[in-house]
């Protein structure tokens, strides 16, 4: 078993004190994996992943990245610590050019490294090259998502964290985004993503967690979870057909 990159233990988080949205959720992400967090609407998936990225106040539990405690780290230090986050919406700077969107994210890189790194991103996302001078707000939905991912990858993160990368995209772009994520994993990047589109996410994922009411309730191999009756119960609210329990 390969080493753990991200280790989240009993995480509690919420915007208001005394009103936790995330209530003791634990997950681990190992090097080179794609881990998917699923769950019904309102399960706290988005708050969970935002809390890890330092965007929702954490009231309990711990987050370790590569053995280092990043629980209390402010959001702007996350890229330096090795965690790059792609928000669900508004994940680009609309009035800045594509190139400036990439460049503004390079704050932690060595100055001489930046031009080469930008070219590497263009090589990985050829659609963006032609648009390098275009204001990012004029890109199509799929291209925006590419730019947001490229912007996150440009700083060599240890783990790439995505909040519903397929949300709001047309079906054609949805499959494109998931193919892109599978390709990124092949290049050795560890990925954690929250998804509403369970089927597509499980198809590219290695392992998955099901989050319900702010807690991780089930864990399993991604390819097996789609047919798991416990998941059906937790996720779709159906009665279990075979057996009860099994909650992690």
């Amino acid at each position: 078993m390969s080493e753990t990159v991200l280790d989240v233990r009993d995480l509690e988080a919420g915007y208001e004190p005394g009103v936790p949205i995330v209530r003791g959720a634990s997950i681990t992400v190992r090097k080179g994996e794609i881990v998917v967090v699923l769950g019904p609407n309102g399960a706290g998936k988005s708050s969970f992943i935002k809390a890890i990225a330092g965007l929702v106040p954490i009231t309990g539990g711990t987050v370790f990245l590569d053995g280092r405690d990043i629980t209390a780290a402010p959001a702007h230090t996350m890229v330096r610590l090795g965690l790059a986050f792609v928000p669900q919406t508004e994940n680009i700077f609309p009035l800045m050019s594509v190139e400036d969107n990439l460049r503004v994210a390079c704050g932690i890189l060595e100055r001489r490294e930046i031009p080469g790194r930008i070219e590497e991103m263009y090589a990985a996302f050829p659609d963006l090259v032609r648009q390098r001078r275009t204001a990012a707000g004029n890109l199509s939905g799929g291209q925006r998502q590419m730019l947001a991912v490229a912007r996150a990858l440009i700083v060599h993160p240890k783990v790439l964290v995505l909040d519903e990368p397929s949300a709001g995209l047309s079906p054609k772009f949805v499959s494109m985004v998931f193919e892109m994520l599978a390709g990124i994993r092949k290049s050795g990047v560890t990925i954690l993503l929250v998804e509403q589109n369970a089927k597509a996410a499980l198809a590219i994922g290695d392992r998955a967690y099901v989050l319900v009411e702010g807690k991780d309730r089930h864990e399993g191999i991604a390819s097996e979870l789609w047919n798991d009756p416990v998941v059906a119960e937790l996720y779709l609210g159906q009665r279990p057909q075979l057996h009860k329990g099994g909650a992690a």
Binding site: G54, A75, F85, I92, F93, L95, M96, V104, G107, V155
Partner: protein, 302 residues
């Protein structure tokens, strides 16, 4: 109609434009209208005046540079004044604005800036009285440059200084990581943090630029007109009108807005009389808000 209004308008416009840069930056990055910005101008000017006097006391009378009305002491004092005004802005942010900003209601910060404006202005009146004062009482002869236009050496020097500063700020905003971070923060504060931008340090840079330019605008008024505790407060309406006309957040817009308002004011003085001067920015502001609220270079908020 004499074309002299062009020179007068460009000069007034430069003062307004330099001030409007600070207003537009504060508005787009910190998300509030800073009504104390005019008083930064006045404080910067009095600080510069104090340093000029101190240099005068130490080195005696210094000959002016070429045909200008001022010598090196004013240039040195201006740099000190800019630093002082930047520090004043940072201090005010630390003790007042940043605390209120963290409560998340913009209107509270705006009201606080009203209060700060009054306090700063009254302190100046208390210390220096409300009597006008001058950097130099020497009278400059305006040179004819054709088309019935006359211009003094001081005016040429200050127009060049404005152009240099505006170009410098524009390059800073578009070509440096600091400038890109400022743009990023004004477009999406949450995403700016996600991509690793330290919001606190960008906020500091914003105050430093705004404060320093306010000081330059104030000193321009001091050199060309006079120094009074109300000198900055009186510029508030034209500055806001310029920032809004140019489109909030746009540096070139703020400067162009300033020049347009300056020229309109100077033209109005000739056409309809000096008593209507102050009405010009008000009318332009109303017109922009009715016709194109996002301004010349503005972009609709998504």
């Amino acid at each position: 109609m004499s074309l002299q209004f062009v020179v007068d308008g460009l000069l007034t416009g430069s003062m307004i434009g330099l001030g409007a840069i600070g207003v537009t930056l504060t508005y787009s990055i910190l998300r509030f209208s800073n009504f104390a910005h005019g008083d930064f101008m006045a404080w910067g000017t009095y600080a510069t005046l104090a340093v000029v006097s101190a240099i005068g006391a130490m080195f005696g009378k210094v000959a002016p540079i070429g045909p200008l009305s001022f010598g090196w002491p004013l240039l040195v004092a201006l740099v000190v004044g800019m630093a002082f005004t930047a520090l004043l802005a940072l201090l005010l942010d630390k003790v007042l604005f940043s605390r209120l900003r963290s409560q998340g209601q913009a209107i509270i910060v705006v009201m606080a800036s009203f209060g700060a404006s009054m306090a700063l202005r009254s302190l100046l009146e208390f210390t220096f009285t409300s009597r006008p004062t001058y950097f130099s009482r020497a009278i400059q002869i305006a040179m004819p440059v054709g088309f019935g236009i006359r211009i003094t050496p001081d005016q040429i020097a200050l127009l060049l200084l404005t152009a240099t500063l505006v170009l410098g700020v524009h390059l800073l905003m578009t070509r440096t990581q600091t400038g890109r971070s400022m743009q990023a923060l004004s477009q999406n504060a949450a995403l700016a943090r996600i991509v690793g931008i330290d919001v606190a340090s960008v906020v500091r840079v914003t105050w430093i630029i705004g404060g320093a330019l306010a000081c330059v605008a104030g000193v321009m008024i001091g050199v060309l007109v006079q120094i009074r505790p109300f000198m900055g407060f009186d510029m508030l309406l034209p500055m806001f009108a310029a920032a809004i006309l140019g489109g909030i957040g746009s540096i070139p817009g703020a400067v162009l807005g300033g020049l347009i308002i300056g020229l309109a004011e100077a033209g109005a003085v000739q056409l309809i009389g000096a008593e209507w001067r102050a009405a010009v920015s008000f009318i332009i502001l109303m017109a922009v808000l009715f016709v194109r609220p996002i301004g010349l270079f503005g972009v609709r908020e998504r």
